[in-house]
Each structure stands twice: as C-alpha cells, then as structure tokens.
C-alpha cells in the first residue's frame, strides 16, 4: 500500500486536546469532528487539507487524552498518514484500531518540511520526499500490528473471534 500527499508539519507533543478540543466531544460523528480538527493550533488546516495529505509531527504525537475522536477526526479530514518521530501510546493503538495509517521515522520527522510532497510505501517502510529528492527509512511494524492493519482495524480482527 502506498499513499502520496502534501505535508502539514507540526512540532513536539501535539496533544489530543488540540487535535480535537473537548468542547466538540458531545458528538462522535466523524463529519462533525473533522470541522474542528487542529483548530486550536492551525485554523487553516481544515480549509487547506486535501484527501491524501500527510501530517508530520515530531516527538510524542497524540499525547494526552485517550479520545479516539482524535485519530477519527484526522482520518475524516482526508489525511492519509501521520508520520512522527514517536507517538503517545494510546494514540498509537487507537490509530491502528480505527485504520488511520501512522508510521514512525526520526529522519523523516526531522527533514520533511511543511508543503513537501511525500510518498509513503507501507510495504517496504520507505518514505520518499519528492520535493527534496530524499528517501527516509521508517520503523517496520511488529507482526501483531501488521495483522490489525491487514484487517483494516481492530473491529474486523475481533469479528473473527466473537
């Protein structure tokens, strides 16, 4: 699987309160949530984002609350992948569970700049920066996570067990 898009770049410790503020959590409708995605740190995000675009964060992306509304809002906004140096653990689980592709790469998080055109190949873990003509290596997924990815999220994984 591959995805290609333009990059929105953010810093360290992007918390789930800024990804989707709690004042909007009285609904879990993805279409409602996406309207407010990232608004407290980037009001332009939701106006500019196009299907396939990519978010690049730095350390500890998605820290804070366990709200699954955060990866749901990002996915609904059209973002096809989040790249970061590291992810907060609950956000990490939630993303795989709901089928939002995320990938860890220190090199990519450091070198990719806002607006770069980037292609992610999930099969070989290569992140190609088309704008800069560079390629970065991502960390491979553990086998267990691959099983969840193959089933497009935890719901289908559990379906087989229930």
């Amino acid at each position: 699987m591959k995805t290609k898009g333009r990059v929105f770049k953010y810093g360290d410790n992007i918390d789930t309160d800024v990804i989707i503020p709690a004042r909007y959590l009285s609904t879990a409708d993805p279409e409602e949530l996406k309207k407010h995605c990232m608004e407290d740190i980037d009001k332009e995000f939701i106006k500019d984002v196009k299907p396939g675009d990519i978010i690049v964060g730095q350390k500890n992306f998605g820290c804070g609350s366990s709200r699954e509304h955060a990866p749901i809002a990002i996915k609904a906004s059209g973002i096809s992948c989040v790249i970061a140096e590291s992810f907060a653990r609950i956000f990490y689980r939630n993303s795989f569970n709901i089928g939002l592709p995320i990938i860890e790469s220190t090199e990519a998080a450091e070198k990719i700049e806002a607006g770069d055109e980037v292609e992610v190949d999930f099969d070989n873990g290569k992140i190609k920066n088309i704008t800069k003509g560079e390629t970065y290596k991502a960390q491979s997924y553990p086998e267990f996570i691959q099983k969840i990815i193959q089933r497009n999220g935890l719901v289908n994984y559990i379906k087989a067990k229930v």
Binding site: D17, A22, T27, S66, R93, N94, I98, P142, K161
Partner: protein, 424 residues
C-alpha cells in the same frame, strides 16, 4: 532475566510463565471501563464487531462523569445511549447521577479494582489503579469495545523505569508535588510506552490518596502504567472497600529497568506546572507573580478526601480573594458526604468557594468552570494543554490542593507555607 511487577501481572493474565519487553500478548481483563465520552463510541464499535452480549456483566463499569450532569442536549443523548446499553446488558456497575463519582476515584472506592488486577479503561487516567498494585491502563473506545466483547485485550509488554522514593515529604508537599516533580525531571515522554514502577522506603510516608494522585499522572510522563508495591496500607484499603480476593505481585530482584531514578521526598518543594505542558514545572519558590482569575480543586487527580482536607486546612477562616472564582468539586458522592460531615464544605462555602457535584467538567474544558480569553486558572487537575480548560488564549497552572487553596486566598499563585503566619 527477572520480571518487573507489571510484567508478572501481565504474564499471569496472558496465561504464560514469563513475558519479555516488546512481546505482544493477549491478556484476560478483570475490568473494562468507559465514560459518557468514550463509552458511546465503544458501544457502536461493540455492535460492529458482531458482539451482542458483554463478556461479564460485573466486569464492565460505565460511569457518566465527563459532561454530567448533562451539559447540553447532545451530551444528554450520549448519556442516554450509554444508560440504555447498560440496562439492556444488565451491566451491574453503571453509576447514575446521585451514586456516581469521577470514575478513577469511584472504582477503587466501590472496591471494583484490587491488587493484581488487569484493567483497561477508555480514559487515559485509568492508570490511577496502579496505586493499588494493579496493572491498569488507558485505551481508546475500540479497545474498550473489544474488551467488553471478549474479556481480553492486546498489549505490548512494556519495559520499565524504576523510581526509588526515599525520605519523608515536608508538611506542604503532597503526592501531586511528587509526580509534578518527576514529570518535570523526565519529561512528558520520559516514560513513553513504559511502566513507571515506584519502590523505596519513602512510600510508607505516602497516604493512599497520595499514591492515587501519583499513579494517576503517570500518563503525563507518557507511561503505560504507574504501579506501587502492595503494603499494609494498601491491604487495609482494599479490605475495607472490597470483598474480592486480591493477589500481590512483587518484582523479581533481577528485574531489568531501562532507567532508575532516586527521588528524595524530604527535599521536594511544592511544585507548579506552568502552561502549556505538564513538564514545565517550577518550585513554588520560583513562580514569581502570577495573578489568577480562577481556582479549581478536584478531579480524578486531586478530588479525594485528603485533597479536600488539605484545601480546608488552608482556607479555614479565610476568604477567597475578591474577584477570583474558586470551584471545589469532591470526586465522589461518598467523599462529598464525608467532607460535609467533617465540616469541610462549610469551610469552603464560608471562604467564598462554590462546591460542585462530582464531575470531570472543568478539567477538560467541558462545563462548570470554562475560562474566557486571557484568563488564568490554577487547578489541581492533570493537564494544562493549550485551550484545555476553555479559550485557546487562557492559561492553566497545575498544583496541589494546598497550593491551589493558598492561591485562592492570595489571588495569585501562592505558597501555603507563607499563610501560616497570616497573609503577607
């Protein structure tokens, strides 16, 4: 190689002799928790999974505590959806307004978590129960759904950081100051994906409520869980709240830790976390002049009886600074009642504070204490992220109940030690 306390609990619940850091396991769950924000999402996923019955009606807890008492029609709809699910499934541990409390204060109080348990909750502060010697961790709604459907959850076995607590904290230093100090030291991702295992002689000087506060904020250092060894105090607490059998796990003497820190509690100072990240800590001696509009005392972090007593000790016979809003919310109905019987509620009201029903409301900017543009609040809650408690241009400072109470009197961040000789 030996195992940590967390690894031992996980191994037993996965039905294996030993586990190693990084290993993926599927473990049996003793409790699955959700609230009015995360529960409704989980219930929808639960049905999508093809499930129609929760794995065990006594091992699911549903607590409408975030936007309750219902703050608007949408929140009321979410609560209604969860309530109807609880009733149709015969879920024993559904707690309606009137008997509820903030989930992480409520579950231990109701005896629903004991030492040796594995608990997941669709709320990041589920790590609170580490204080009881249980493995507990926050997950999202889909994990909660899977837990409700199967009674199991997948985990990556964490490695660990050892925190050796020594010495006795001084009068105005509480569990909150200890955990803020630790987060300031190791950072908000200092324990990312790992267990924080607390050990050492200093633990005997910490009350259960101190320990709950410390475990509660392990997530603020990125940790998967924060766990305490079980001592006499823990056993007494569990026995007086639960009839369930519990199991004590101890780390092997040759358990491996990625890092070890020694924290001398006797030299810690009251500590405040400045906006907009919990690791941005300063001691009370370094805070400078920070004027305040609001003080919040409560939450799953600091809404227990010890916390209210500490606040009352400071507020007794004093007045909240004119123009400042002080909001105090006991974490559960039973704590509320106890505070009333001890005369604490009278002290708060006479001081000019408002006392609220248990709710998570203000902590996450839900309701019952939202900040306007440019306003500043000191809170005993757990997060001071941008816009956390209201307007994106408001500020939240995190501190202990004693510091928050002293600040309510002074109208600025204030050292409770200085109030002992009268306000200067």
């Amino acid at each position: 190689m030996g195992m940590t306390m967390t690894q031992k609990i996980l191994a037993e619940h996965a039905g294996v002799k030993c586990v190693e850091p990084g290993q993926f396991i599927e473990a049996k769950l003793d409790m699955v928790l959700g609230n009015d924000i995360t529960g409704p999402v989980a219930i929808k996923e639960f049905y999508k999974m093809g499930a129609n019955k929760v794995f065990h009606k006594d091992k699911v807890a549903l607590v409408p505590d975030h936007f309750t008492p219902n703050k608007d029609i949408k929140s009321a709809d979410q609560c209604k959806y969860m309530r109807e699910f609880a009733h149709s499934q015969g879920v024993t541990n559904y707690f309606e307004i009137g008997e509820m409390g903030i989930e992480h204060a409520l579950l231990p109080e109701k005896g629903l978590v004991v030492a040796g348990d594995v608990v997941i909750g669709a709320d990041s502060h589920t790590c609170t129960y580490g204080a009881l010697g249980a493995f507990s961790t926050g997950v999202g709604s889909t994990d909660m759904a899977a837990g409700m459907a199967t009674g199991e959850s997948w985990f990556k076995v964490p490695s660990a950081i050892k925190l050796n607590l020594i010495g006795k904290p001084s009068k105005w230093v509480s569990g909150k100051d200890i955990i803020l100090h630790i987060i300031g030291k190791i950072g908000v991702d200092g324990a990312l994906y790992k267990s924080m295992e607390f050990v050492g002689d200093g633990i005997k000087n910490l009350t259960m409520d101190d320990r709950f506060t410390i475990s509660n904020m392990a997530i603020e250092a990125g940790a998967k869980n924060g766990i305490f060894p079980v001592d006499e105090l823990t056993k007494d607490y569990i026995k007086s709240h639960s009839n369930r059998a519990f199991k004590i796990y101890e780390a092997d003497t040759d358990a491996f830790y990625d890092e070890e820190y020694t924290i001398d509690l006797s030299i810690l100072r009251p500590t405040v976390s400045f906006p907009h990240i919990p690791e941005n800590t300063r001691t009370i001696d370094q805070v400078g002049e920070v004027n305040l509009d609001q003080v919040v005392i409560g939450s799953c972090t600091n809404g227990r009886i010890d916390d209210l007593r500490a606040a009352a000790k400071v507020l007794k016979g004093k007045k909240v600074k004119k123009g400042l809003r002080a909001i105090i919310f006991p974490a559960t109905q039973s704590i509320y009642l106890q505070a009333m019987e001890e005369g604490l509620i009278r002290i708060f009201i006479e001081a000019g504070a408002v006392v609220s029903t248990p709710t998570c409301g203000p902590c996450l900017g839900g309701h019952m204490g939202i900040l306007a543009e440019g306003e500043r609040c000191i809170a005993t809650t757990n997060r001071n992220f941008l816009g956390r408690m209201g307007h994106v241009k408001s500020e939240v400072y995190l501190a202990s109940p004693a510091v928050a109470a002293a600040s309510a009197i002074a109208g600025k961040i204030y050292n409770p030690e200085k109030l002992e000789g009268g306000l200067r």
